[in-house]
């Protein structure tokens, strides 16, 4: 446990924030070793150098830890898109950015069914607002980059979010150890990595926006 000035307890708000951040950093390290599903609160307590009870002072549940990690990861992804994408590279960057924040894709895959199902309402709504705002920024960015009319861009970015959700699910399958997969199933699994499945679908969606599709 790292805390400024050799103090063992966080009294000020900034110290509390530092401890919260330290727990999240420990969670990242731990997940790097054992995966999201392998993370237990006991192990997280050990990794963070605090007791289990302390974890529950800073987070109301395991899933709230994961939700906080996801929001962080999403912020990184959005930042990359806004910084690096343009009309020509939009799809490429949207396909690549999620892989540069390593926890984004696996957490997105668990976001609704696993994570949101076990976070108290007040925390959930607060985090959802952040996600909504980031989503709106991406929508505005897409409108600007593609030159599509506002409502079309919103439609497209909603569709792209759906697609990301789906691609994140597929990605879990793709990460399976292929040596245990029968030959006839290999192509199915291999084609499902995020970086393959998302851009293919995104191209269709965006061509549906820039051309004159229905509605």
């Amino acid at each position: 446990m790292v805390l400024p000035k050799n103090r063992q307890r966080a009294r000020s708000d900034s110290e509390k924030e530092a401890r919260r951040d330290a727990i999240l950093a420990a969670a990242q390290r731990l997940i790097g070793r054992v995966g999201i599903d392998g993370m237990t609160m006991n192990a997280l307590a050990t990794e963070a150098g605090v007791s289990k009870g302390t974890l529950y002072i800073y987070f109301s549940s395991k899933e709230e830890v994961l939700l906080a990690l996801f929001v962080d990861a999403m912020a990184q992804v959005v930042a990359i898109i806004e910084a690096e994408a343009n009309a020509d590279t939009l799809i490429e960057v949207m396909g690549r950015a999620p892989t540069e924040a390593p926890l984004f894709v696996p957490l997105l895959a668990r976001l609704v069914a696993v994570i949101e199902a076990n976070v108290p309402d007040t925390s959930l709504f607060a985090e959802k607002r952040k996600m909504r705002d980031m989503g709106q920024r991406v929508a505005a960015f897409i409108a600007q980059v593609t030159g599509a009319p506002e409502h079309k861009a919103r439609e497209a970015s909603t569709a792209l979010m759906l697609t990301m959700q789906g691609a994140a699910q597929f990605d879990i399958s793709a990460r399976r150890d292929l040596s245990s997969v029968p030959d006839d199933m290999r192509p199915m699994f291999e084609g499902q990595s995020f970086s393959k499945s998302f851009p293919a679908a995104a191209r269709l969606i965006l061509s549906g926006v820039t051309s004159d599709g229905p509605s």
Copy 2:
């Protein structure tokens, strides 16, 4: 527990299949009352009128029960699409069919992250083959109905699968009790039902196929 001829134990293959089906039917009833996440193996044993040990004779884990329910539901959905869709109604039917097999959407939302993560390989591959074959039938159907070239139709149906995955996730949020949702979040939640989000995205994808998008 219902078994033909007042017999208490399933000895023949057909009796075993009947018992397996009875367990799945019990699971459907139970889920109807308590939801997927609320289903416990103890409760399922009681509902099916067998002991917990018996459940584990017919299914290797809770998730294998859910996987079997999903494959059933998917078969229903595919059957509806093949029976009722045509060029004009494809999107409408694909948006409606999943809601007519009530377990399809919530199970799809949990399929990869929750269900597949805890099913032994041999069962998983067997069920995945069924899913792949059904997916290929849908792809062929889409090709036939839209008149799109084979590879375009495959691309589109993969994209539509991704979109369904994502829409299934969104649908979980939409089913939340709206009275507990703050006003500013209502529109976000309301718009996320499967029947709203899927068709919107599907239209974009299909217009990207029938028009001449890139690639």
